[in-house]
């Protein structure tokens, strides 16, 4: 039982070391209570910090998923236009994003875990602080300083253990959050620099969007032309959806119809 025993001994030693501060033992009660309230507000702040980090990651996830969706859409459009090369490029970029998305999801789950732990720690400490406050008033009202010493020691070291535990939980959460914030900062920079946007909006990635755009505008022009020639007014929206690769089919399938009209 050595791990358990050693930990218990160390915890108790530290709780006791933190204990003997005041001349009048009853002042120890107030002093400890003060520290409990400070710790409670620390743990609340810890919960808020972790929640902020979690929300930041959620925001980033939404951005990256939106990008991935855009690339998926581009790949589909490119395939419809018989441009497998463009579709491949879009899907390659999308799979690059997928790695980052998975990574963020893992971080998100970890932060959620930390947040849950801190919320639980806060509830446990809250209950004990409340209980300590009642005990403190009873001890002060009922016992002389000498008699109170033992009871004060009991109460203070009992809650001291919880405080040590909660203090550690905050520390662990802070450490994890700090690591993740650094990585989140890197992703924010990446997003801000446009490196991830490239595929859909600016810079080198513009090519897919630009080519698709010029191709679909060509298709638009063709269908508009046909509409003006009175060949295919009912098929126009479908022609865009079917894509450029199908243009000839659209024309040929509609030719008999127009021939029919001409007859």
């Amino acid at each position: 039982m050595s791990i358990m025993k050693r930990m218990s001994l160390i915890f108790r030693a530290k709780a006791n070391k933190a204990l003997d501060r005041a001349e009048d033992p009853r002042e120890t009660l107030d002093y400890s209570y003060q520290r409990q309230l400070e710790l409670l507000s620390n743990v609340r702040r810890g919960v808020a910090d972790v929640a902020t980090s979690r929300k930041r990651i959620e925001l980033q996830l939404a951005q990256l998923e939106q990008q991935a969706g855009k690339l998926q859409g581009q790949a589909e459009k490119a395939l419809q236009m018989d441009r497998e090369d463009l579709a491949r490029e879009a899907l390659t970029r999308k799979s690059g994003l997928a790695g980052q998305i998975d990574d963020l999801k893992t971080q998100h789950a970890q932060l959620q875990g930390e947040e849950e732990k801190l919320v639980n720690a806060q509830q446990r400490l809250q209950a004990k602080v409340e209980s300590f406050r009642t005990r403190k008033e009873t001890i002060k009202a009922t016992y002389t300083a000498a008699e109170a010493q033992t009871r004060i020691n009991e109460a203070v070291s009992g809650i001291g253990e919880e405080m040590g535990d909660v203090g550690m939980a905050i520390q662990r959460a802070e450490d994890k959050t700090a690591t993740m914030q650094a990585r989140a900062g890197a992703i924010d920079e990446l997003i801000a620099s446009g490196a991830l946007d490239d595929a859909t909006s600016q810079g080198s990635g513009d090519d897919i969007a630009r080519e698709l755009e010029s191709m679909s505008s060509q298709a638009d022009v063709e269908s508009e032309l046909m509409r003006l020639k009175g060949l295919s007014s009912p098929g126009a929206p479908g022609a865009i959806e079917a894509g450029a690769g199908d243009t000839s089919d659209v024309v040929s399938s509609e030719t008999p119809q127009s021939e029919g009209e001409q007859r």
Binding site: K5, M7, L39, S131, G158, D165, G167, A169, R172
Partner: protein, 92 residues
């Protein structure tokens, strides 16, 4: 007796369940001694599960000290070593 799992809270554990927990604790101790992180993770998880299984949660608002204290779930060997050495366990 009362056993605290750090980061999780206190459990009341019947004395007769301690033999089994002692066995599980020996495995943890051996893993720390061998610096075997994988074995440590599994052994610690087994020990904590043992405490959760045989124990019942201690009253939330009690101010009782624990008889025994265990590392938090998911702790690494280094973290446990730091807890045993470090001065920072109790704030202040």
């Amino acid at each position: 007796m009362i056993i605290r799992v750090l980061g999780e809270g206190q459990y009341d554990v019947a004395d007769h369940a301690l033999d089994r927990l002692n066995e599980l604790d020996s495995a943890v101790e051996a893993a720390v001694a061998a610096s075997d992180e994988a074995a440590f993770g599994a052994a610690l998880e087994a020990l904590l599960d043992g405490v959760r299984t045989v124990g019942v949660p201690h009253d939330l608002d009690s101010l009782d000290e624990s008889d025994l204290i265990l590392p938090p779930p998911g702790a690494s060997i280094d973290e446990v070593r730091a807890m045993l050495d470090d001065d920072g366990l109790i704030p202040g």
